[in-house]
Amino acid sequence: MIATSMKSTWCPGCYNFQILAAFKRFIEGEIANGKKREDFAIVTGIGCHAKIFDYVNLNGLNSLHGRVLPTCLGLKIGNPNLTVFGFSGDGDAYAEGMEHLIHTARYNSNLTYVVHNNQVFALTVGQPTPTTEIGFKDKTTPEGVKIHPLNPIRLMLAAGATFVARVYADVKQIEYVLKEAMKHNGFSFVEVIQPCLIFHNDAGYKEKIYSLEEKGHDKNNFDAAWKKAGEFDYNVVEKIPTGIFYQTKKDVFEDQFEQLKELKKKGIGWKDINR
């Protein structure tokens, strides 16, 4: 019921199918447990990731490039009872929409943000993004990328995000982290490391990945999270920790405004206020 009849236009075998399958299973599970389809809203940016909007029959907006987070925030403010998921690519999140990423982490609105990071602008045929490794070549960078990539996990920790996670593009890992993110009261940042079969294929990621949880990482310890976040710099692949780096409690955006608290208490949005 949550799937649409749209035929997928992702490349055969694309890792986006893993993310889609996980999200659908997660939503269907939530609905089986009593949530309604109308309780959810999704927002997507522009790029390969955004096609997920077409394959999931939930309300929301397939928005502009880079503007997923302010749109998510606007939905939460419009109706704080909505469960909101934003989806972005790495171009969307780390290039075009960087200012929103930092500020939304700071606001700590209760929503979940999933970044499909394939380290490349895939839908525009393979240009480098802020998380592409040095030396990567495409038609627009014949001399290769010269600039050091950004470490989004460390950025999110520094910006004050209250839930910071990274998973590999694998159904089980994603479904697990989505459940944890939804349980978290605050801004949940989830990065999905996702090879692009055409423009940025798997550089042996799968062999380098390990689970933070299995290694006994304390997700409530900021210093430990910071250290673990430094293990993968998006440039040289040695080891890639996955799982929840950090989780903490902080005041939630929607709870700071009497007007929104009142809407939450009544289970309504502004739409239902008649003046």
Binding site: P70, T71, L73, G74, G78, H103, W270
Partner: protein, 496 residues
């Protein structure tokens, strides 16, 4: 009678507070007052002044000369010496602003009790202010003009306050903004009133976040509004285009200041007519409304919500610094129109979408979508004709027709009282009334605008085929508003 007082001094010495207190007292006594603010982009020092004009008849603008010059610092007298008349009265001396309030109250025979009441309302430094005011009142020996109490039902307001009230009365749920002069007074006014009226005001990281968040809220069904000036509006442009394709109701308050670039941040101009009309890629419908005084600000705020909700389109209300920050004395109550909330959360898309809300590249669906959106133009036009799309003043059958829009309204009304002219003030920029062509055909048309190239003239040419001669364009583009006495001379040169 028409009297002018110029209050000058450094930022921080309080010429604005002083002007406001005198103005409110005059309004309380039944006089019509208009004052404008001239301030530089700095917080302390420099030179700021307020030009206050009052009369026993309706007035909406200032003149170039001052009957009384109040100098809060030494520089003021020198800076404004050209604005003095032969018999102008100069108040000076190293004293606090309320000392001069006391002297002016004596000069104008205003009741000291009113001043005391105002100072109480001000709260800050009450004792010191009272002492200064008493000293000034006692020291002043002259009476310049005997104020006689008149019974008028007057209210005193500026464009920002009235626009804010209009938005609240139209059911505003959420206002998003990033501070930018001269749109900030609306942000301030709404922020102060949000709890009492149960709506929400939020400042986000930049104008791009502001408009995208407003779109997010608008698609949940909330009546959403954003406010900014030219530079911020430019940043919002991509999302403005998004409201066009996704058919999202949104009200945008655009308070102009001179551009391009940072331009002159704290001064006035009307250079943004074209961005209001054309900003945003692709073809989509919008409504652009241009109030000319605070009453129209309040009324057109309600029209903006009405059209945005009814047609699920962006509506831009275009104001400027002069209208946003000058204080007007008004008598008539505003007439607002009600609007129902029309939107609910569904599947919205920035891409062309099919009936399931998914992105599509199907040519038939694209064509159908485009035609559905474009068809709104005729419906909007038909709906707009139910309202006053422009106003006419003056001699209805005159061969001389002045045409203008926005805040030039005040100086035009004041300067044409005894001239043989008809004045047409355009309220609806988009859609543009078809009747205007008939009003202009064969007339001696005089254009008055606060910009350098006559943007309204281009709009008129586009919509009516009528070209206004360059020699008949009265344009001011130094960041300052028109002054009634100077404008009158310019108009007289062009009458036939």
């Amino acid at each position: 009678m028409r009297w002018s007082i110029l209050f000058g001094g450094k930022a921080g010495e309080g010429p604005n507070v002083l002007a406001h207190i005198v103005a409110e007292a005059l309004v309380e006594e039944g006089y019509y007052v208009f004052y404008s603010r001239d301030y530089e982009s700095l917080i302390r020092g420099g030179h700021n002044f307020n030009l206050l004009t009052f009369s026993d008849e309706k007035i909406y603008s200032n003149d170039s000369k001052a009957d009384i010059l109040v100098c809060l610092d030494d520089a003021t007298e020198e800076i404004h010496k050209n604005q003095l008349k032969k018999d102008s009265f100069i108040l000076k001396g190293k004293k606090g602003n309320m000392y001069f309030a006391g002297r002016i109250f004596k000069l104008l025979c205003l009741d000291f009790k009113i001043l005391e009441k105002r100072l109480k309302k001000l709260e800050k430094r009450f004792e010191e202010n009272m002492k200064d005011a008493k000293d000034g009142y006692d020291e002043e020996q002259k009476n310049l003009c005997r104020i006689i109490y008149k019974k008028n039902n007057l209210y005193f307001t500026n464009g920002s306050l009235s626009f804010s009230d209009g938005a609240i009365k139209s059911g505003l749920d959420i206002y998003y903004a990033y501070p930018m002069t001269p749109a900030t007074p609306v942000l301030t006014a709404l922020a102060q009133k949000q709890i009492e009226n149960n709506f929400l005001v939020l400042e986000l990281e930049n104008e791009i976040a502001v408009i995208n968040a407003a779109i997010g809220s608008a698609i949940t069904g909330a009546k959403s509004m954003v406010g900014t000036s030219g530079g911020g509006f430019d940043l919002m442009t991509e999302a403005l285009s998004l409201t066009g394709i996704a058919e999202v109701p949104l009200v945008i308050y655009l308070a102009q200041r001179p551009g391009p670039g940072t331009g002159v941040a704290t001064y006035t101009g009307q250079g943004d007519l074209n961005i209001a009309r054309h900003a945003g890629h692709g073809e989509f419908q919008r409504v652009v409304l241009a109030p000319g005084n605070p009453k129209e600000c309040e009324e057109l705020a309600s029209h903006a919500f009405y059209f945005s909700q009814k047609f699920k389109i962006p509506v831009i209300v275009i104001s400027d610094k002069h209208l946003a920050e000058s204080l007007y004395t008004l008598t008539e109550k505003s007439k607002l129109i009600k609007s129902a909330k029309s939107t609910k959360l569904e599947r919205y898309n920035s891409y062309e979408k099919d009936e399931t809300g998914a992105a599509t590249e199907n040519p038939e669906i694209i064509k159908r979508n485009v035609e559905r959106r474009i068809k709104k133009a005729a419906e909007i036009e038909k709906e707009a004709e139910k309202f006053e799309m422009y106003k006419t003043y003056g001699k209805k059958n005159s061969n001389n027709v002045i045409i203008s829009w926005g805040s030039t309204n005040g100086a035009i009304l004041d300067s044409t009282k005894d001239l043989n002219v008809k004045f047409i003030q355009i309220l609806y920029i988009e859609p543009f009334s078809k009747s205007i062509k008939k009003e202009l055909d064969g007339k001696n048309i005089i254009l008055i605008e606060n910009n350098a190239t006559g943007l309204l003239a281009n709009l008129i040419a586009e919509k009516t085929g009528i070209f206004i001669e360059d020699k008949n364009k009265i344009l001011r583009y130094d960041g300052r508003p028109f002054l009634a006495d100077e404008l009158k001379k310019e108009i007289e040169k062009r009458l036939k």
